[in-house]
Assembly symmetry: C2
DNA sequence: CGTTGTCAAATAACCAGTTAGTTGATTATC
DNA sequence: GATAATCAACTAACTGGTTATTTGACAACG
């Protein structure tokens, strides 16, 4: 229940640390992140990082788990409408710019260490299974394997992002979104593709 | 003329340092790289890094310049045959696994600092211009802007790589290559796409 | 008063960059 | 062709500063 803010509130301090850690890790990665900066930005003592999270690396893992859960929760997956999924994912990534940077840092610094974010592997499996079912049901063309289709959809959605501390410039973003959706549509299109939808649609 | 190897050979030492730096930076990025390790791996004194390259960051820039030049040199761009280009780029990245990691580290750690690799911006511009010309000539469908087309082609080519200290397992790689080529084909296909080419072609 | 949240200070390891000096080859001089 | 001067290539040891992590004391709350 929402209590009025206590002077000493471990949960609130934890949350501030997590937010500060998100910014720091997104900007500098694990090796480049500074524990002191995280503590300062959270207006908390850096020793609390060790009481609450154990170590810098475990703090990073916690940040990853949190944000992976957020994407999975906020961007519903629709196997029979991959272009729509791509569009929604695009919107989410545009609104949460650190997501992609965090994921990149993870791939480079943490991958292969057996510290994959909670639920990522499971969610990937669910998605490919769902795509396979949609293909079996004829709703999605079977030109690609489910794994390829998922990988390509994600790759196309990210294509315009990495460029982008700046790329989020409203008008451009809308055009890019339409292009991404159309590109995914072409991947799942059956033999005879419908004429391209009007790219002016949001 | 080729002289027999001198005991003290600045060029050879420089080359060893550059090779060691490539491995170290690809594995750990700039912040995570250790100058001592680079020196040790190159069997050279670490002070030579500073006489020859100036600083850790300038060493990284030199590594990037070298490897960007290598891709641009070894993977010819064919605006009228983007699927073929994607296939060749795929092969190159498969044979040079650190390329993508170096590029990722650069995006994350060096981007926006005004230290873009030599010739990258120029080469991007040339490529988009060439695509625009091919579109004007009707050889490539105009459903996407040249920038979109290039970004998507690169994104699709990279899609299967990041997974990949392990992904390079011969049989899988061949299937993924075919899928990438087919995906790009669908992007540049005009209204009525030809039936997919036989994926067995190299 | 005891438990729990907080913090300033200490610690020990680490690391980029420097410096003062050595080694070895090349060149100028007799 | 021997000798000495010269310079580039290289090296070992050090420095000044940084960094993750720990500790021990203090304050708030029940």
């Amino acid at each position: 229940m929402p209590q009025e803010p206590r002077a000493r509130d471990a949960e609130a301090t934890k949350a501030r640390l997590l937010q500060a850690a998100t910014d720091e890790f997104a900007a500098h990665g694990i090796a480049g992140a500074r524990v002191d900066r995280i503590g300062a930005a959270a207006k908390a003592n850096k020793a609390l990082i060790y009481t609450y999270f154990g170590s810098k690396e475990r703090l990073f893992d916690t940040v990853m788990d949190t944000h992976v859960a957020r994407v999975l929760d906020q961007v519903p997956f629709t196997p029979e409408d991959l272009p729509g999924y791509a569009g929604r994912l695009f919107d989410f990534l545009l609104a949460n710019p650190y997501q992609l940077r965090l994921a990149s840092w993870h791939r480079l610094e943490r991958s292969g260490t057996g510290h994959e974010p909670d639920g990522l592997r499971v969610s990937m499996r669910q998605k490919t299974d769902a795509i396979a079912a949609a293909q079996a049901g004829g709703q999605v063309a079977a030109a690609f394997t489910p794994e390829d289709l998922l990988a390509f959809t994600l790759a196309l959605t990210n294509a315009w992002m990495p460029t982008s501390p700046v790329a989020a410039t409203g008008q451009d973003a809308r055009r890019h979104r339409a292009a991404v959706v159309e590109a995914v549509r072409r991947l799942v299109a059956d033999g005879s593709p419908a004429p391209a939808a009007d790219p002016a649609s949001a």
